[in-house]
Symmetry: C3
Subunit: 311 residues, 3 copies
């Protein structure tokens, strides 16, 4: 029965003539309050219908809520149905998911009537809300999702922890990178670790996508991330909140997306981002390579971590 429903959903969401290989993701997230008072999303369930097979990916995620929230990974052409449950104890304010980058109807905007004057696309206690996203051509990239409804004023509680990452990978599985001093296409299959670093005021909030063990590993604040010498590693660095930052990684350099500009320090404003692939320790060898915000006041506030490259 479940499989039947999945097939029906597949047909409805893709329409006639759509490529058969596009997957449909059925995801349920819950917004909760942490003991610290911060808010966070947690993964409840993630099932994928792909070429007639249903795969359950729930166990790939960390258990319990994390900051940033679960990283959702789609391939260009995929669709996702994301249900949000309101699990914030002691509050009946609406909570939502507003996503960047992908296509969605206005009913999946994640805003309230207060802002939109038309509809509420939000969850209330006991009343989950389902969003539909389409990773159409032209949506490849690293994007953000975040609450756009909770709080006072009702613009959203992204800065209280309700934020996460959406990655849309290209259908051909290749991304541009500067490797061994040359700009070239890299196969995503060759990337075993991805590091997500959100820059919020004076803190990094991190997460590792480890493809060797198929697990998302929460790293919390200012983490040490690690790789073996010579491994291809992908970083996704995203701003959040009110402060502006410059992200610097010691001993490595990369190209700004969509350009041939080689950098090792880039401006990152709230919800602006850079994503890039490096070969760990390329030309520099092993080491505890710092990454940090290069704004002096943020450095002095300890906004830093390490990229540990081992032999």
């Amino acid at each position: 029965m479940r499989r039947y429903r999945f097939f029906a959903a597949l047909i409805l969401s893709l329409g006639i003539g759509a490529p058969l290989e596009a997957a449909v993701h059925h995801i349920t997230l819950r917004a909760v309050k942490l003991p610290s008072g911060q808010l966070a999303y947690e993964m409840v369930r993630h099932q994928v219908e792909d070429q007639g097979q249903v795969q359950d990916r729930t166990s790939h995620y960390a258990q319990g809520p994390t900051i940033p929230g679960p990283t959702l990974v789609l391939t260009e052409g995929d669709t996702a149905k994301v249900t949000l449950e309101h699990g914030i104890e002691g509050s009946d304010l609406p909570v939502s998911i507003h996503v960047h980058g992908v296509h969605y109807k206005f009913t999946s905007d994640g805003t309230t009537r207060t802002l939109s004057e038309t509809i509420d696309s939000v969850a209330y206690p006991g009343k989950p809300y389902t969003y539909e996203w389409n990773a159409a051509p032209g949506t490849v990239g690293t994007w953000m999702y975040h609450d756009h409804a909770f709080g006072d004023p009702l613009v959203g509680a992204e800065d209280q922890g309700l934020f996460g990452t959406l990655i849309v990978n290209p259908k051909d599985g290749k991304v541009e990178a500067m490797i061994d001093g040359k700009i070239q296409k890299v196969d995503l299959k060759d990337i075993k670790r991805e590091f997500i670093l959100w820059m919020h005021e004076t803190t990094f909030w991190g997460q590792e996508l480890n493809h060797l063990v198929n697990r998302q590993i929460p790293l919390w604040t200012n983490p040490i991330v690690g790789a073996r010498l010579g491994e291809l590693v992908r970083f996704h660095v995203i701003g959040l909140g009110t402060a502006f930052h410059t992200f610097h990684l010691h001993g490595h350099r990369w190209i700004e997306p969509g350009t041939t500009h080689v950098v090792d320090t880039v401006n990152v404003g709230p919800i602006s981002r850079t994503a890039f692939v490096v070969k760990a320790g390329e030309g520099v060898g092993p080491g505890d390579w710092h990454y940090h915000c290069h704004v002096v006041q943020h450095m002095q506030s300890g906004m830093m971590g390490k990229f540990r490259v081992v032999q």
Copy 2:
């Protein structure tokens, strides 16, 4: 007699061998004080001499002063003679127009001797000043003009309202955009609406160029802008003042100018800008699509508007 003078001006400003199709714009602006105490530019007169014909465009502009000031649109190759009248009641401080992007002699810089040590290119009460601009090859883009003389200190009163937009369109009439998920050339003739949004501290100041009715429509603060589903629409987003911003438009994405980088949120500092074309509601349909600054403090201060896409 008027036509004779225009022809003389045409010959003088273009010189021998210049292409005949380049237009000469004769523009008069006035700087005035609003009842609120803010300052603003207003359009007094805009006449265009093009291939021997004189066209009066004054009626295309809003009547009275606006913030931002009148949007001046040139085509690559055009020249403009812009006369500024000082109409700021109760003040005999100099006022000026300093323009970005285009070519001009130092006598058209819009600065005072205080800054330049050489000349004053400014208007005083009863003493208008004329600037000459040349939209030479290499100057295509969205630019700014603003006062660079009034106030205390004498660096200019741009942050009191004396700013406006200059658009230099390419001679071939085509700009790059991502439409239907593909980066392609778009014909400017197919763009019926352009929206200008200046980001100043915690407020958007808007203006619409409506090519269907050939009118500039002042939109003032945090406006709702609108388009029909599927229309090509061009946004020009420009910073001003002291704060840094990140501009986000819900449900749409675009390429950063001069790159293939697909974004939906971009860093905008004072007088830095992004300009882009989107197909209204592409892949997402109608809706009251928010645009806002994604700096949380600015969101909480109400720095937002809507892009209303209707069927």
Copy 3:
């Protein structure tokens, strides 16, 4: 004997099969305290071993400490051994050089055990430290070097004056620029003046590399820089500290590195940068062309200088 050692160093650092034309730079810098209490680097000695010849370039630099410190210029493929002497009177805190962009082993990172948990790559009074850099392929660009150890907290005293510029020029001697309205390759041999402008809080700190007389000229704060009409001039603009800036140069425009985006005002955050070539006075003629930060509060604080273009 000295030449023998240089040859040995050359062989050791390049390895078998490396191109013979790569130069090895032997540089000694000293960190000192200025009477103002600020800190600065000074050039002690710079010798270059190139194709079997030793050249002493020490006299090309300013005498005594400067802010920014001596500009180090390498060509893609070169290596540098940079020895830092601790000459900060009254302090035995460690001081270092952390460099951006180029390759170096972790022992040349310029950080302390406090940050790295592994080693100190820093100088103490009477105990100089030598860093080894490799301007490998993929490291072309304008980079920064700065202290990453001194001060309290021990993140470095870059904002007290311990910063300087490293330029890695491409092996083919060509850089992209928009000249006469067209994006084209420019030969570095045709550039006689380079201007380095660091943007620190509300001040520009400048330096000229004058290739006509082979001298580095310290310009200190908010300088007037100059060129003859039509000369090719290269600017390197770099942020520092905590504030974000937008760099604007009157009457000129350029392309953002690695893109075709034509700008005359760009976002510059701490340790982010733009570097570009312009033809002095192209299309605009001679003048005292302002450059300034376009953040209004910074303009009002006098963060400005001039680019004096003379006939």
